[in-house]
Symmetry: none
Subunit: 199 residues, 2 copies
DNA sequence: AATCATTTTGCCCGTTGGTACAATAGGTAG
DNA sequence: CTACCTATTGTACCAACGGGCAAAATGATT
């Protein structure tokens, strides 16, 4: 496995090397990264948000340099930044000088396809879960199981095509469920349905 | 640490035991759980959503049986269900036959007080949360007068045609405004915009 | 006078969404 | 066995949506 740290901070370089092993490669700046660089699936890139160009980190997260898993480090971590990076595709966000134990655990989680975020952010997201997942009215009770599933997807703003893919059914079937849902909710389209649910 | 798996599926029982160790206790059905059962803080309960009563799982997640951390397993995982279970208090939601590695990671994360969710859902939540957390004031301020008007109509779920009629302009102009609005809000269509505004 | 942001519109294109008119199949209740 | 509900899918049609390319007019700013 290839692991790269991008940071100009000597102390951070030492810290990470101590925690993860000295086989880590280090690059002082993202600008030094050849534009032709193509990370492979499974590569791990730690990047120091304190002293790197945000735009380049952004591109890195979005996969412009290949399919590496990106972990963003910050010496002043905050939830807002976390959601930004994770939303862009980062696989982790944590304090640059986290304990070696935490760093190792992050590595393990990210390598196995997970995301690493702080507990505080998780709790906030959980609070939002509650809102998103709040039980609806009696109208929802009138829906069949599959129809309810479709509604969940709808609420996330997904297209018919995507819903079909995620439910592993044809787009036509999604439409069939939608037609049924619209009738039961007495609305004409998904927009009105969303407005009704949001109210 | 006490770990319990609730599933009638032999293959799942074997799979989990192989991944986490054979010290796991197994219960075929949630119905077999004595109503007086009180899990303790730190207890880990894996429950198979495929063959258990949803209502009982629900109560389990909500803590009716004590303060165990609940991890929901499904052979057909989807984001909608994830939102439901996590919203109810589950600490994790993942594919029943995830790799042993992933199962172990889940254990580690959940035990240390975290949540385990799929990457796709996590990113969606972050994206959504980012939108929520960000004051739309700044975004709305970037709109022109007419664009703001259009947004008002949009929030009421009106069609382009209707908006055009009410603003006494052509439908093409409405589209032009919309295109500008979408760009400024960094969304692709009216649905995403509504979700952003509604949040 | 020249530049710029804003507003307006037309034509055309591809994609998405909703539905009419079907059919097949599994399960349940009578 | 027979309805009935649910889930699934197909073809096809049309309306709605989003945007590319273009143009014109206005008002403000420099």
């Amino acid at each position: 496995m290839y692991t790269l740290l991008i940071s100009s901070s000597i102390s951070l370089q030492d810290h990470l090397a101590a925690a993860l092993g000295s086989f880590i490669e280090v690059l002082p700046s993202l600008w030094d990264l050849p534009t032709a660089t193509r990370f492979r699936q499974g590569d791990l890139v730690w990047v120091d948000a304190d002293n790197q160009d945000p735009d380049l980190i952004k591109r890195l997260c979005k996969g412009d340099f290949g399919s590496a898993r990106v972990i963003v480090l910050s010496s002043t971590p905050n939830d807002a930044a976390a959601v930004d990076w994770l939303g862009l595709g980062a696989a982790g966000y944590l304090h640059a000088f986290s304990t070696p134990e935490t760093l190792r655990q992050t590595t393990a989680v990210v390598e196995s396809g997970g995301l690493w975020v702080g507990v505080g952010l998780m709790q906030q997201l959980c609070a939002r879960f509650g809102q998103i997942a709040k039980p609806q009215h009696d109208l929802m009770a009138q829906l069949t199981e599959r129809e309810r599933e479709v509604v969940q997807h709808l609420k996330m703003g997904k297209s018919n095509k995507l819903i079909a893919k995620e439910m592993d059914i044809s787009e036509r079937t999604v439409k069939a469920h939608l037609t049924a849902i619209f009738a039961k909710f007495d609305v004409s389209d998904r927009i009105q349905l969303l407005l009704k649910l949001a109210a």
